[in-house]
């Protein structure tokens, strides 16, 4: 279409979005160096001084001068933040004071050594997390970093230099930095400075660094730093082009897919792929694929998969789990669907036999990936011995039991064999031993079975093969059968043992699934938020063991909603970890990056609509990380809980919205009937008055009289309506004062009937009052008013005659007014005491004001009585309004 031509030159919306996300957020500038001593701190401080001179609010959060006068001199005149001193194992540690920095809130803060690990009682274990919080708070940060500390390069660095890098900073930190400044000097210069003692190194690290500061190492590190900076410049160029919609030299980026499995090279594969992706400026996705029906059951492997995926997530990859009957086909299908250009994977350590036949995962994938490039990452062979790999060792206790069982089983087989030999003549007793091997396999798995096989081999030889009771074999054919027995026993034993292990694992998975299923059923039955939280808390307590606490936001603050055990107090640290989890949508507390010293861990409950709350729990064993199985179960439970909470909240909102809507509807009806009731009398009065004034002299006298009479009547009607409205509002506001006298109901009934007969001459009113009715407490005038209202109602709705009954019923005086009208529909019966309800008609023509009955109800209840309606009353017609008042017990004519 011709009109869309310009659209191609629009800035990429994603690029612009990324830009706006940066606004309101501090800017990070990283001074990147190849090694300590290149002058990062110096460069940073010089820059800070320059800015300070320009009037920028610069604060030095933390800078290590290492006692060097040159650097210390640069600090003079700059605003330096006091350090936080903390004691750790009899030592004083000076740490960066994050809270003071947040409170001070400068425009720019300088925080040295980004890779530093904080003292244990700090909010975050790592300094880069402190920096992230500063940036979130809108403070610009300058910091320094050595290239060796970058997470994705850590393995390369340790391979090149032989020094293990422990303190790492995620690549995301560098990627999201606004500026990266490379501080560079040549390796020779650096070594010279080192020799001149210009580079400060801690005493303890001196020996380790002797090997580090070699020319080769420094050159390699320098190359890494230069290359990383160049990559960044390249990225920025592309970003700039995108944001400004300049027709780019860039092409559609590469898209990398990384396959990881449960083997120990998963981590290496992910890191390699991360570096590749950065170099190619490509987005990447990490997948783990499982063969349907052969799901991994080994917890260690599951954990490795989880770890690898988590690492990938940290390095900026998307992650995805796949499942399919043919894993290779599944990966390729996914790759094609997502337009993946390159696949990265490790060499699979399949069974050596398979590998020979080219049937390993890697080989098959390489063969079948016709349109995608495949990188195969090699890494040194694992340290785990071959036997350990094909024969997973059970836990020590179980191993011991298995070995004892093997010995017992073989001993039993010897016994049985001896007895059989006495009774029968059997050519070969080896079957008995095979039975023992299989029994061990079925109960204790392959290790026990193989032990039993070896024992059987010895015992069989010793007890049953001549010469008896020696370990020698006389006949060659016996030797052959003994060897065959050993092979058969080992093979069947290990096969049966594996089947046993597998069955055990499957059973465990089934149990987990069932437990989860039960939980989801429990949740499905819980509609209210409290029920959901309670169900989740009890279930978690059962599976996790420790105390559980659920927190949800209420009036802007996180509040404990449910806890098990119920009376738990959260410490200040726990509260701030919970808040952290809630506001940052991250796990906090025990064994995390935030407040790791707490006893509890806090996890956000996330739904597509955002974080709905936080769950805190204490792990079963504070010393051990959560096992992979428990971790998986926990994640599943929390996901379900979050969804259920979300649903409960939505249901609550829907109910409230519906109630509001009903209320709105009622209000509209109320308003329209009110305005009708007020306007009709006003209209006729205005009309009549203006008619009389303008046309009166042209009218016959009778018409004039009639108009005057109508004015009087309508004015009375209006005044009655207004009086009702006022009564109603007095009752509702509680301003109505009801006297609590001892009154004789008979008097009130008589007075009301008199008034009714006067006011409603067309109405026939009968009375039937029991003699000697006791007194009730109340207000004689109000009771009369109520009765009159009821008679008036009977007149309006009920066929011209009304009966008033009064009698004792138990301890109550019951007064009723019955009419002979058409009655009230059963569906309307409960609503007739509502305000502005009028006998099935919302327009309310000719009916009353819709207030009479609700006023009556208000008055009766104010006097301590009850009121109800019955319809039909007599012979399928009519309505009866019943009032009950507690009778006052009288003693000799006086109230008791």
């Amino acid at each position: 279409m011709a009109t869309d031509v310009n659209d191609d030159r629009r800035p990429d919306p994603d690029a612009l979005l990324a830009l706006t996300a940066k606004e309101g957020h501090g800017k990070l500038k990283v001074f990147l160096g190849a090694a300590p001593g290149v002058g990062k701190t110096f460069a940073m401080l010089q820059g800070a001084r320059r800015l300070k001179a320009e009037g920028v609010d610069v604060v030095i959060g933390l800078v290590e001068t290492h006692g060097r006068a040159e650097t210390a001199a640069l600090l003079a005149g700059l605003d330096v933040l006091a350090r936080r001193t903390t004691a750790y194992r009899d030592r004083q540690i000076d740490e960066f004071d994050l809270d003071a920095a947040l409170k001070r809130k400068p425009k720019l803060i300088v925080v040295d050594e980004l890779a530093h690990t904080n003292a244990p009682d700090s909010r975050h274990p790592k300094r880069w997390q402190d920096v992230a919080e500063l940036l979130d708070a809108g403070i610009d940060v300058w910091t320094a970093l050595n290239i060796q500390h970058l997470e994705s390069l850590a393995d390369v660095v340790s391979r090149v230099t032989g020094v293990q890098v422990r303190e790492t900073v995620p690549d995301m930190v560098l990627q999201t930095a606004e500026d990266v400044v490379l501080v560079d000097i040549t390796p020779d210069e650096l070594i010279e400075r080192l020799n001149e003692g210009k580079v400060y190194l801690p005493q303890t690290a001196r020996r380790a660094t002797q090997n580090f500061f070699t020319r080769g190492n420094l050159t390699a590190l320098r190359e890494l730093a230069l290359r990383r900076t160049a990559d960044r410049v390249d990225d920025q160029m592309v970003d700039y082009l995108r944001q400004n919609a300049i027709e780019g030299p860039w092409e559609t980026s590469d898209y990398l897919l990384v396959c990881v499995g449960g083997d120990d090279q998963a981590e290496v594969v992910v890191r390699t792929a991360g570096r590749l992706a950065t170099r190619l400026n490509a987005s990447w996705i990490t997948v783990h694929v499982e063969r349907s029906g052969h799901e991994e059951t080994n917890p260690a492997k599951l954990k490795r998969v989880d770890d690898a995926l988590r690492l990938a997530d940290r390095l900026g990859s998307q992650i995805q789990r796949l499942a399919g009957l043919d894993p290779v086909a599944e990966v390729l299908r996914y790759a094609r669907r997502e337009n993946v250009t390159q696949i990265v994977m490790g060499r699979s350590r399949a069974h050596p036999l398979w590998r020979l036949m080219g049937a390993g995962f890697t080989d098959r994938l390489v063969r079948r990936a016709s349109d995608v490039a495949v990188h195969v990452v090699n890494s040194p062979d694992p340290q785990t011995p071959f036997v350990r790999r094909i024969l997973p060792m059970p836990a020590p206790r179980r191993l011991g039991q298995g070995l004892i069982a093997a010995a017992v089983a073989v001993a039993a087989a010897v016994g049985v064999g001896e007895i059989l030999r006495q009774l029968l003549v059997l050519p070969n007793l080896s079957m008995v031993f095979l039975l023992a091997v299989l029994a061990c396999a079925a109960t204790y798995g392959p290790v026990s079975a193989i032990a039993a096989s070896l024992l059987s081999f010895v015992a069989f030889n010793f007890f049953f093969i001549p010469p008896l009771y020696t370990l020698t074999v006389a006949e060659p054919q016996e030797l052959l059968s003994l060897t065959v027995f050993l092979i058969v026993a080992v093979l069947t034993g290990s096969l049966a043992g594996r089947a046993h292990d597998r069955a055990q694992a499957v059973r465990q998975r089934a149990l987990d699934t069932q437990s989860l299923y039960e939980f989801s059923r429990k949740l499905a039955g819980a509609a209210k938020l409290d029920e959901v939280l309670w169900a989740a808390a009890t279930h978690l307590q059962k599976t996790q063991g420790g105390p559980i606490v659920f927190l949800m936001p209420e009036e802007g603050e996180l509040q404990v909603k449910t806890a098990w055990p119920p009376d738990q107090d959260l410490s200040a640290g726990e509260v701030s970890a919970a808040n952290w989890a809630f506001s940052k949508h991250e796990i906090a507390g025990w064994r995390t990056n935030t407040l790791p010293n707490l006893k509890k861990q806090f996890r956000p409950l996330r739904t597509p609509r955002g974080t709905v709350g936080v769950v805190g729990f204490a792990p079963k064993d504070a010393e051990e990380p959560i096992s992979p199985e428990d971790e998986r179960a926990l994640t599943a439970i929390l996901e379900q809980t979050a969804i259920a909470i979300d649903r409960a909240i939505l249901v609550g909102e829907a109910v409230r919205a519906a109630a509001l809507e009903d209320n709105e509807k009622l209000r509209t009806i109320l308003l329209s009937s009110l305005s009708h009731d007020l306007r009709t009398p006003l209209s006729s009065i205005t009309g009549a008055v203006t008619s009389l004034r303008q046309l009166g002299d042209k009218m016959p006298a009778s018409d004039r009289q009639d108009l005057l009479a109508s004015i009087e009547e309508e004015a009375a009607r209006l005044s009655g309506f207004i009086a009702n409205l006022l009564d109603m509002s007095r009752i509702e506001s509680g301003a109505l004062k009801v006297k609590q006298d001892y009154i004789d109901p008979t008097d009130s009934i008589r007075a009301a009937v008199e008034r009714g007969r006067r006011a409603l001459p067309a109405q026939k009113i009968e009375t039937s009052i029991a003699r000697d009715l006791p007194f009730v407490r109340g207000d004689a005038q109000l009771l009369e008013q109520v009765l009159f209202n009821l008679l008036d109602n009977a007149h309006k709705h009920g066929g011209g005659s009304a009966i008033v009954h009064a009698r004792m019923e138990g301890t109550n005086v019951v007064i009723s007014v019955t009419d002979e009208g058409p009655g009230i529909k059963p569906t309307d019966l409960p609503r007739i005491f509502e305000k502005f309800y009028r006998g099935g008609r919302t327009d309310g023509r000719k009916a009353g004001t819709g207030l009479g009955l609700s006023i009556s109800k208000g008055l009766v209840e104010a006097m301590g009585g009850t009121i109800e309606a019955q319809s039909p009353a007599i012979r399928r017609r009519g309505t009866r309004i019943l009032m009950r008042f507690p009778a006052v017990r009288m003693r000799e004519g006086h109230p008791a």
């Binding site: 306007r679 004039r704 023509r845």
Partner: protein
């Protein structure tokens, strides 16, 4: 011959004062309490004008109006409450001639009645001249003058004025004006109308800031003031 007025209202007090007032003003009065009765009387008793309340017990007043319009062009004046604006406009768009808001004085009511009857007598749309308050409009010759001096109007302004003149004394809804001057596609663009009415007033009103000729009926439309 005295004109015959049919009053349709189920409120007895309204009927009670309208009847003697109408009789005293020299009209014959017919009364109906329900929509069905009203339709029957319009068809059989040939009233000259109908006064119709919109809230009736058996059917909606608008429905009565629509059915009546299928067989009769009798002028119909709506009685309606102030808060039922939407209903009022719908009724006018359905072919009611004018409306009176409750509560009303008898003078105003009678004036509306007379205007409607006069229009009917002149044959509705055939009015071609209008004179009031120093303004003269001749629709046939497309001449407009103010105190004897010619006034220049744009074609749209003239069309707007022409519609008001043809309905002089009666209300014309926003929708009616918009769809006749700008076409049905613009029937809801009330803001156009405000601008044009402002321009028209500036040219024809003696004092445009306090209009006396083109009167606003808030939320409903405009009415050209007409002498009795």
């Amino acid at each position: 011959m005295t004109a015959r007025v049919l009053v349709v209202d189920d409120e007895a007090p309204i009927q009670r004062f309208l009847r003697p007032a109408l009789v005293a003003s020299g009209y014959d009065v017919l009364q109906a309490e329900t929509g069905r009765q009203a339709l029957h009387l319009i068809a059989t008793a040939a009233p000259d004008i109908v006064v119709l309340d919109l809230g009736l017990p058996d059917m909606d007043g608008k429905q009565v109006l629509a059915e009546a319009r299928r067989f009769s062009q009798v002028p119909i004046i709506i009685l309606s409450a102030r808060d039922r604006e939407v209903e009022k406009i719908a009724a006018l768009d359905l072919g009611a001639d004018d409306y009176v808001e409750k509560p009303f004085g008898i003078g105003e009511f009678m004036a509306r009645l007379r205007t409607a009857l006069r229009h009917r007598a002149k044959g509705g749309e055939d009015i071609s001249r209008f004179e009031a308050d120093g303004l003269t409009v001749d629709l046939d010759r497309r001449l407009v003058s103010r105190d004897g001096k010619p006034v220049r109007l744009t074609p749209k302004e003239f069309e707007l004025l022409a519609i008001l003149v043809r309905h002089a004394g009666r209300v014309v809804t926003h929708r009616q004006i918009l769809s006749q001057v700008w076409g049905p596609a613009h029937a809801d663009d009330t803001q156009y109308l405000r601008v044009f009415v402002g321009q028209l007033r500036a040219k024809i009103e003696p004092a445009p800031e306090t209009p006396r000729l083109v009167l606003t009926e808030p939320g409903v439309g405009y009415r050209l003031w007409a002498e009795e």
